[in-house]
Homo-oligomer: 350 residues x 2
Amino acid sequence: MTSRTRPVRRARELSGAVTLSHGSGGKATHALVETVFLEAFHNPALAALNDGAVLKVAGKDLAFTTDSFVVSPIFFPGGCLGDLAVNGTVNDLAACGAQPLALSAGFVIEEGFPLTELARVVQAMASAARYVGVSVVTGDTKVVEHGKGDGCYVNTSGIGLVDRRATGLSAAAACPGDQDIVSGYIGDHGTAVLLARGELGISAEIASDTAPLNGLVAALLDCVGPKVHALRDATRGGVATVLNEVALASGAAVVLAEDALPVRSEVFGVCEMLGIDPLYVACEGRMVAVVDGDCTDDALRVMRAHPMGRNSAVIGEVRREPVGLVLENTGFGGSRVVDMLVGDPLPRIC
Amino acid sequence: MTSRTRPVRRARELSGAVTLSHGSGGKATHALVETVFLEAFHNPALAALNDGAVLKVAGKDLAFTTDSFVVSPIFFPGGCLGDLAVNGTVNDLAACGAQPLALSAGFVIEEGFPLTELARVVQAMASAARYVGVSVVTGDTKVVEHGKGDGCYVNTSGIGLVDRRATGLSAAAACPGDQDIVSGYIGDHGTAVLLARGELGISAEIASDTAPLNGLVAALLDCVGPKVHALRDATRGGVATVLNEVALASGAAVVLAEDALPVRSEVFGVCEMLGIDPLYVACEGRMVAVVDGDCTDDALRVMRAHPMGRNSAVIGEVRREPVGLVLENTGFGGSRVVDMLVGDPLPRIC
């Protein structure tokens, strides 16, 4: 079995144009990051490709992360651009094992965007930040001409202090025998946003799962400490893509049990109608935790006891082989390779 | 003489839509920040309205700042979106008296943007970061449909350690007797970008002044230490707007000498043709330093000795009255009030 690590492509070989797939979080995004960004910016913090960078500052481990939010529509069942932008960055910090210290907010607003809608977005950000106990301490506002944006885009960056029990967290730290736990139902966010566009003529009672996961991560670390090996919030590209990142970084395999995946029946129904696999649909309030097999029961118990993890479930395990692959054992006794997301069936989900 | 501090407007009084003026960095931006952002996010770090927030982390002063860059065109004489995005955030940190520790990069790319142009932008970012000695440690890429962006927008956020001699830096710390020094010719960047649009049928040899100012600030602090009272990089809204921010925050007056303003003849000529005052035109590599009057000569000498400050000049002084105003003594012996930028004659300059 050979490793799937690809030779680094060179920027000078580039041709063509950016497509929506490059923003999917899946294969095309990874190729773009490798080809354009890693080569130019090469440094160990970025090359680790975790959800944020961890830097030593005054003897402490400081996590630093950034995310731009271009979700369409801006308002959807269960949330809006504003809380999504706060929770998304809080969750990237949480995936580094960090509690948030401060957030920034950078707005790119399209000329003509109603001030009342801007105020709603900002109020949602403020409210989400208050819930987490973090402040938006610095910001920036740019306005672009009508037709050069889409209402409002928001970038949030965040800094946080890494829990001392989480300093070894990394997708590369997953090892055979570890168990994969997801903190709740998958695919709610992506499905809710898709339906909110109103283009499909499907209606279903599905709300986004946008939520902050820093409290859940703190509870998990309190319980099992450094036996948490890797954390990833399953946003763009869904659970399938983050587990592929774990498999690639660790050089191990991830084997999922189809029957164990927590999917709401409404989400399953919509995905089936559209021919989309819920494993690839973005969540915005779900963490995938890769924990030492010895402490699976404790980890699951503490996650289920937390309000943000009530429907946590063990969905698979890490094995030695096949190196770098994610497999799913299906309900029919078969097995299939679960690749990273290819293309982008659901653009602008976050 | 009454203070010009305005009563805080309430978000619920909002009506209408966002206009290009809201992104100018001038009066409309300030009103939007007051009305929408400060009320929702209220916290002391944000309310200080400095170029970045300063937080205590592990006993150190950490500066944190964010800026989105939507410049049009993306490539212009003297630079491009990429170096602008790095230098802009480095300069916001420098204006806090901080040396950069790390940068983030968030890309919002329009579908169809050529990959070779993206690579040029990224290479320019990497090159600018190398010059400063800072790394881009974390990033994010989103793609929006054709017609929902304009090629590429970049957000850079940054963290930095505040020099221990700069912990009192604040626009509010300016006091009567201080002198205002600008680190070079004003208005080059805005004029260069405007001409690069090719819509005016004017050609002139003007290049952007985009440059990192952290080295210049370090040299200034080495020389005069805490006698530097305030630093502001004169970007959107130009020197006039940042000096108004100083006057408003300090409750003092700033009095400029028209004859002392360093303006290249080419920039002066273009501005005169267009009826724009160079005092309002964005610079991207110019710092305004407000220093104790006792050390003006030393400060000017060390700034002129630095490659980024060769054309530094004393342009005015801080006086007790008229409270909160900026005045300019004209070459003809008269005096006029220099208000904050109103409207936006040069949108999307950064």
